[in-house]
Amino acid sequence: MNKLLTELSDEDLIKEYQDNNTPEAYDILVKRYKDPLMNFVYRFVGDRDICTDVVQDTMIKFYLNKDSYRSFAKFSTWIYTIAGNLAKNELKRRRRRIIFSINNNDDERSPQIEDKMFLAPDKAADGEMRNEIIQKALLKVKPVYREVVILRDIQDLSYEEISEITGLAIGTVKSRINRGRAQLQKLLKHIYRE
């Protein structure tokens, strides 16, 4: 039975879970999507612990609201939409908390995101460091652009899928990706010399 379930597509699995409440179908979908969602949310939020919580919440939302999924949509876009919305909410909550803490403790304040943009180019060339710099730069891109850049250039989703996830027109998605990339390139000008 399990072997058969693993061969099913995402859409068939969610249907099985909706119709027969099969826990195995849910488990398989969790296994399939936990890593891609972790990657997406981590690149968006930039904190591993928060990212784990967001993905857990995504899976619980999926568990609680399985019937809100409609078969005409792709399961992947549906679950990405949930994760994206939760990640955005988390960012907003964090921003509010930061503003609150800045207002309260002006003297003890420390920078929330460490700035490593101005490293020497030879150090920046180092792979791990380079990835870290890119991640920091990504977090400085506006969230509306960051989301689509991550979905397109890191998660490798198509424009159509991104359009479905974000609820935007394809043209808007393309222009946002372009602006996001331009912003990122500008932030990483030390690495990518023209």
Binding site: D57, Q135, K174, N178, R181
Partner: protein, 221 residues
Amino acid sequence: MKKIYNEDESKFSEMLNDLKGLPKIKAPDNFEYNLMTRIQNKNFGALEKERPQFNWIKFLAPSAVVVSAIILFFIFLPSSQENNNQLLQQTKLQDKQSEVNNPSSAKNELNNQPSVTSNDKLQSNSSSLLGSNNQASRPRTLSPLNDSRSIKLDDYISGANKNQSNTNRGNIVNNGEEPSQYDGFIVSEKPDKKTLERYRAVVDSIKKAQQKADSLKKVQK
């Protein structure tokens, strides 16, 4: 459009390669265990929203408004229509009056005969605005909704009104003979002699001018 984006992709190619080469973040090993524990313990936090229970007051309040609006609509709309449609009211009144005044015409209607029988004896002199002075001095109300002026089109088509005189036929465009109670729409004004003569003089002068113009045209030819 596609070309522009492709060009842009080439512009960012190095950065895009780096983005694609970023290490993939994986979920912690205990991710599923924690998730299942949360589900089993029903520890959903703020994610589980209580579904709003069915509330009779919330249901009844708008439905009561809608029902009362419909009832009011049906109570007031027909009467207001009748009040507004004076034209229809007036014709109904006139129908009744004509039946009372002229029972023969009502009978005629029942026998499917032309309703203009009473007008057969009348003359068509009254057709023009510049009619005789007697006519002008006659006190009456001009009404476009006079029953005596009505002509049954079906009879005209079927040829049932062969015996009807031409004067009656003209009655459809001329003013009726019978006085009417109807006093709406048209402002009835008793014409005095002076104004009638003035109009007549104007019409005569127009006619003379027309004749002169015709004679001049003839001369030119």
